[in-house]
Symmetry: C2
Subunit: 219 residues, 2 copies
Amino acid sequence: MSPAPEPRKGARTRERILDAALGAFSEQGFNAVSLRDIAARAELTHVGLLHHFPSKEDLLIHVLERRDELDLAELREQTDVLDRSVLVWALRIVARDTTTPGAASLYARLSSEAADVDHPAHAHFVDRYQRLAGALATAIGTEIAEHGPPFPITAEQAGRQFLALMDGLQLQWLLEPDRVDMVGSLLGYLASLGIVIDRETIDPVGDPATTAGAGGERA
Amino acid sequence: MSPAPEPRKGARTRERILDAALGAFSEQGFNAVSLRDIAARAELTHVGLLHHFPSKEDLLIHVLERRDELDLAELREQTDVLDRSVLVWALRIVARDTTTPGAASLYARLSSEAADVDHPAHAHFVDRYQRLAGALATAIGTEIAEHGPPFPITAEQAGRQFLALMDGLQLQWLLEPDRVDMVGSLLGYLASLGIVIDRETIDPVGDPATTAGAGGERA
DNA sequence: GTCTATAGAAAGATAGAC
DNA sequence: GTCTATCTTTCTATAGAC
């Protein structure tokens, strides 16, 4: 008879719990954090927490959804031309994470944990990677259409980048094995530096399993 | 009086345990795996396992050391010219992991878990990243010295690469915050595609904390 | 070197009072 | 909506027999 239109106390408690869970998962990972840890941060008992989120998995899903909603809200506030703004937005997310280490490690940890198909956040991360990769490809494609690439880069920078590509591609490949050709992509990156290595040197058999999928047709 | 020169039975059991632990950690991560799981794979009880490795942490350290030893042994078997062989070797490791999903996820999972300074494998991963990044930079530098870069790349490939760089650089930055400039490196990558974005667009304040370190002097 | 038995701590979740 | 109390399971690790 009285569902008040004002934000109730319960909603604020939910927010407090989500903040606490975001911080705890970020610092220690999903498995290592207990409901009691999170509840203590939010200043209630773990039973009180379970009243709002009936299970630990349910809490995780809501933390991830909230985080993506906040990031997407930032994207929509951008007033630049659409395509390039996706790139600017992604870079700003990275820059922001630099100042908040806890939030930054959430995806680094959870996205690797979620490679397991039985992990409660597996579907979330698969979907997220697909949408992000698509948006970035569209934006970069638009840019490339206008001018060709000349560029300077240091060996230090290239080394770090190559290593990051190895780790990042591995994560993508674990989530979507058929859509990522790690070797092909790394060879393409080296080719962009003028370093040409024949694929047969790496993959002597020409294994069809490692040759399939987008993101790695040899250049 | 009789320390036999022949490999004893205990040594073979140790190997069986290390194999089992590698597989289990790879598939489920360090925290999610119990000593009983590993012991069951190695066909003994968890108490028998603790006779060989006095704690779970001790077991993890030995698993990582063994894995790196095997990879380095492969490197030493390569007969190519030294510098380029580092690149070929790294690519072959990636290619091999493609055929053995379990082994591939070990580092994806553990390297993100190990970002925590209190994690038993933290020092191991910090050291590993430093050595790898150095070797790769040397090899790429040698290549670059010979010819300049022209290259083709698809937008799909570039999108996946950019995303992998985001994830991979984040991991490096979590391990060595002072040595990785994520935004700078990503801007450098985009510049290599002919996409020039001013750093001030991303990082309006010119924050010295996000500008420091190698791997990201702006191109 | 491997076992059974068990200690001791902590986890996720439920029952029911207020 | 939040609590205390408790159940059930699972964990790492130890004690001591063989």
